[in-house]
């Protein structure tokens, strides 16, 4: 089994790239791989707790929590989050907050890296 690192910079609302990343995480974990997920830029909105589910809007809190319980290692760019007013006390439980070096370190010991750019 290998390690997959996914970096995603796309917003939760606007494209479906974060949905794609979460589904890919789910199947990779299911197949026994280790998965790190890094969210940066506008993707940091994934880390905010208390988002309400609306019809036809992406709402990934529930699947994300389930994946974290299965071993998904997920971190948010702290600077990107702070720049958008997403503070530590408003972060989903289990989300790590780090600088970009966390992502770089993760990619260096990963077997495969998928970097999904932003808008």
């Amino acid at each position: 089994m290998g390690k997959l690192t996914i970096g995603c910079f796309s917003s939760l609302i606007g494209s479906m790239n974060l949905d794609f990343a979460i589904k890919l995480c789910a199947l990779a974990l299911e197949k026994g791989h280790k998965v790190d997920l890094w969210v940066s830029g506008n993707a940091t909105m994934l880390s905010i707790k208390g988002q309400k589910p609306f019809k036809d809007y992406s709402h990934l809190e529930k699947p994300l929590k389930e994946l974290m319980a299965k071993g998904l290692n997920v971190a948010v760019c702290e600077a990107c989050a702070e720049a958008r007013g997403y503070h530590k006390d408003n972060t989903l439980e289990g989300f790590k907050r780090h600088s970009m070096d966390w992502y770089l370190a993760s990619t260096f010991d990963a077997d495969r890296v998928l970097h999904i750019g932003g808008e």
Partner: protein, 98 residues
Amino acid sequence: MKLAVFVSDFRITVNTLDRLKAQELGIIFVGNGIYHAALKEDGNPSPLLQKSAKFYVLSEDLETRGLSSSGIANNIKVITYSDLVDLIFNEYEKTAWL
């Protein structure tokens, strides 16, 4: 190097892909990129399909957009997320997202 390129946008042109060099190239249509696999413009398939590559399209993204695998050309393999994980780990060494 075996390179898998994820095409997630319908606007991607051949010029973009021409800048990527690989011994073996796989093109995986996801998101709005699936329209390259599913639609024709003026009766012509997407120019991306002229590339020397293996082609894949994600079935869930076809279905999300109301399309089915029945109209997909034979040289494009319809895959699931599970297949995608296997492609990433077993068939290609590097990935790129467009």
